[in-house]
Point group: C2
Chain length 223, copies 2
Amino acid sequence: MNEVEIKLRKNILAKNEEIAAHLRELFAQHRLMVINMLSSPGSGKTTLLEKTARAVGHTLAIAVIAGDLQTERDAIRIRNAGAAATQINTGRGCHLSARMVADALPNVDLDAADVLFIENVGNLVCPASYDLGEDLAVVLASVTEGDDKPAKYPTAIHKADLIVLNKIDLAPYTNFSAERFRLDVRKIKPTLDVLEISCTQGAGLQSWFEWLKTKVEQKQALH
Amino acid sequence: MNEVEIKLRKNILAKNEEIAAHLRELFAQHRLMVINMLSSPGSGKTTLLEKTARAVGHTLAIAVIAGDLQTERDAIRIRNAGAAATQINTGRGCHLSARMVADALPNVDLDAADVLFIENVGNLVCPASYDLGEDLAVVLASVTEGDDKPAKYPTAIHKADLIVLNKIDLAPYTNFSAERFRLDVRKIKPTLDVLEISCTQGAGLQSWFEWLKTKVEQKQALH
């Protein structure tokens, strides 16, 4: 980036922080736990949210804002799983911004929801720089992407409060090493937990649901 | 994006086109086939380039410019496979620009190479907007990312001259439908071929090598 680009990027990020701060305040007023979900395309964000809605939707009211360049597919899938869902289409935009989330909020019933998932655009780079006013960021990775991803996308890892490692059922068919993956994660953020799951086979999902319930309770207990 | 952002984006892209045009001229002078490789993180770009270098490196002189936020890992892997490789680290940058490629060129022997692969940052969004002076763009997708990716990332599909669909050996363990994938590709770009391969098992690689040799010959025949 040249100097003009760097300056503009700083301005854009500063403006984003400002809107994110307003969002955070709004979410706090509604006792709403907000989770920003980051991953590569196809790591399984929507599938995880579907499974979550089906499994714990009767005790936790789940709302989802789903970001994608094009298509309503994710929102439709999530609605079919019983959760409230709003789609944002970013066109050529490679990340959600606080402004986009703010613009989508009239479609979200903040009082009815216990947890709001913001499913970011499938991209491990830019979403890591944009605060959406969330309480927590979850990075979803998958075994089939390879164990070198934490080292290559340290900004996303650094932002994460939990890493969910999906598709562990496919590990036997790949050369993925969970040990290498975890080692690189620890180098970037030693305190960060890695939760191994398989959305299709069900392994680890119970731990994910429990993590989620605990976080929602912690947020609600604050008030 | 607001008006200022849109205007700046246009300026950045116009400047990029200008540098890309210079690159294209330079590559033509050297009779060099240049291929821009786009994919999500972990689709297998580096593995495909390793396999290619090992299989056809004795008849085709291969050079690679590998883009990543951080680490030299890809360049090292490719060098170990016998091809010349230069790493670009973009820091937080989510795509390569023509300027970054131009800056890396002093490290590339343009006369010695028959084909230059530019391995873009793992990201299906922004790399699709930045011309690098390449002859052809190859989008690598993988079965484990899901069959909905063409519909969700139409800009990348539209830019592509070939889609290589990797990890077909894992298809039996997923709900991936090659038919749905191909149908969505055809809707965006009816002329676009989809080449199914498995880098780990070897399926389809011979067709990829043949495609590559044909393209290199076509470029060299122009002069």
